[in-house]
Symmetry: C2
Subunit: 128 residues, 2 copies
Amino acid sequence: MERNTRQRNAIREAVAQAGRPLLPQEVLNAAQMQVPGLSLATVYRNLRALQEEGELRSVMLPGESARYEPAGHGHHHHFQCRQCARVFEVEGCPGNLARLAPPGFAVEDHDITLYGRCRECLAAERKT
Amino acid sequence: MERNTRQRNAIREAVAQAGRPLLPQEVLNAAQMQVPGLSLATVYRNLRALQEEGELRSVMLPGESARYEPAGHGHHHHFQCRQCARVFEVEGCPGNLARLAPPGFAVEDHDITLYGRCRECLAAERKT
DNA sequence: CCACTATTGATAAACGATTCGCAATAAAGG
DNA sequence: CCTTTATTGCGAATCGTTTATCAATAGTGG
């Protein structure tokens, strides 16, 4: 049966608390606040397990490796800051994208990624 | 000075003729019609060189490695077929995506990827 | 409190994609 | 037609990410 380990809970918490999709390495950094000895392998193992359970969702962005966010946030897209490289959720969706596809193509889904500067990085820039 | 080799021309042609972004391996397959002995390393070298020259553009899709298309096709997005995995250009753009970002975020750019079935794969399905 | 076994940490290994090293080849100018 | 040297083909090497191995550890039900 599945066991509730400190490691798994810390990983679950880290993703939930972050409020944005995290890289495995970021999950490790965050979860090590709770479980200092935590290893990257364990993070990978649990991210995969939690994803298969349907508790987490993997977020793929162009040219980036997988990040993880809690499942069940409904349809949304993402924003990546060009300065700090962090990824954030953005609500809403333009919708009606199927019309863009060439005739004869069936559109079933879509991904949108916005790029720019996040609030924090903009604030930091102004101070310089 | 830069030389015009059969290999480079074949690679350039392959990308131009394809009409869709190609993976290095796909470029190799196509260009080997013209230059049978062509090697993958040469494809990589030339794709990189042509990109730096501004003749080609690399296309990144979520979870995929880089594809290459001719530069200068203007702003557009891409469609990936879930069956054959090929990528196609789609014209047009919903525009006004900046409004989706959280307050305080500056949106500078965006990527849109559509997913579904391409015409060929839809046609093939009907025949079964 | 025990026994069972899922889980962990540490490290090596796998993996796919891309690049490098080098001798052999072949454009291009004279 | 030479000479120069950019370019090529091949295989090995690298890169970052992810997974496998395996002995040691620690949840969990009884």
